[in-house]
Subunit: 264 residues, 2 copies
Amino acid sequence: MNQKAIGVFDSGIGGLTVYQALKDKMPDEKVVYLGDTARLPYGTKSAETIIRYSEENAAFLMGKKVKIIVIACNSSSSYALPHLQNKLDIPVIGVINPGAEAAVRGGAQKIGIIGTTATINSRAYEKTITRLKPGLKIVSRDCPLFVPLVEEGWLDHPVTRLVIGEYLLPLKNQGIEKLVLGCTHYPVLKKVISEVIGAGIELIDSAQTTTENVFSILTELDWLRNSGKRSADEFYATDFPERFQKIGEIFLKRKIVKVQAISF
Amino acid sequence: MNQKAIGVFDSGIGGLTVYQALKDKMPDEKVVYLGDTARLPYGTKSAETIIRYSEENAAFLMGKKVKIIVIACNSSSSYALPHLQNKLDIPVIGVINPGAEAAVRGGAQKIGIIGTTATINSRAYEKTITRLKPGLKIVSRDCPLFVPLVEEGWLDHPVTRLVIGEYLLPLKNQGIEKLVLGCTHYPVLKKVISEVIGAGIELIDSAQTTTENVFSILTELDWLRNSGKRSADEFYATDFPERFQKIGEIFLKRKIVKVQAISF
């Protein structure tokens, strides 16, 4: 198992924050990334459809002989995780549980959650946090402009600062102690969010918390890659690989050599 | 035919600007509106898929016995218009031709075109304008933040003004005389766009140009509604009718009484 790759899928490009966190933590691991860009967004689709798409994505990664699958998509993590865990004989982890676990750790009483409209309306983080630690105060807010701002590459732009203030200062004023970045695009804005709302609020970056989770599982199973020889990562997209490549470079702050188009 | 409704379909909510323009011009007409919100966006899908979805939308409207179909969606107008015109025995019109015709009218030499990334990449307006009047100078630019800004309801917000300046002042500096608002969401921002770039640039609102087109066709065929008795318009959405209702009210500046969910 050790030499096999880590498989990551997302409805699009956002999961590259998870990819980057995995590589920062485990630079020797090979990652195979699939962005289902042809069928995004998942958030507005029915549970059945999200499960079907997630199955197809997972089957593609299984074909690449991965040793673990990371669902770097909030909607798919909400709806398809238990299903894929039952179906596959390798570990499958999503982004919601690790984020929720980090939120309840320590003594914070008031947690903020931000995400896309679909994620916030699904109340996925809220439910998971409440299950882990009932009674916490939770304040949620959707931030629909963050994804297009990231995809524009306006990471440190006056517009982005204004929008962050508009969305997040009301949460700050309500006294949140932690803020869950409940969308895989948002870690790209972490620095500027911290600057606008102040360092007093702990930002929970689900890309990082998910990576910690992957690392513990691979360590426990003794499946970490143990050869010094690195293999190139692979990127696949179901539509517009050029767009994936262009926006992907905003996420990774480096060139992506090759994105391969696939279709289901 | 006179008493029958005008059918409008769009991939989502943006076509409500066309709906509103139709009602402003022909308040006695009944309109049946279908937003295919479950399957949006169309712009990132293949031509075959867009044609198939457009056929299903048109078939739904035909079932409502409409007398004319307006495709209030740029991607569907680009790819499915000739197909639906051949297939159906009632007039079908799209949003691109009327906008392009308005752009070439008069003596302007330099035309700006804005739209979503998918519309700009498709070069649909550019090709149509060049076919109508070869040799015009055309400057295009995608404005991916406009749709989420409209859907946030930030119609006269400092963020919106900043974004408009960032996107459109370079076009102004290149000396455009007209600007085609090549996305059905954009007419909602017409006033603030004009304030930011100045009244010297004529804005071409494809909702209005399309409405003029519908009006001429119905007048020529003598199909305009001739009874004073108005019937209530009908709104259908393929997913999340609540969201359609909420955002629709930003477009129409009034309550939408009822949005009915349908599925294909």
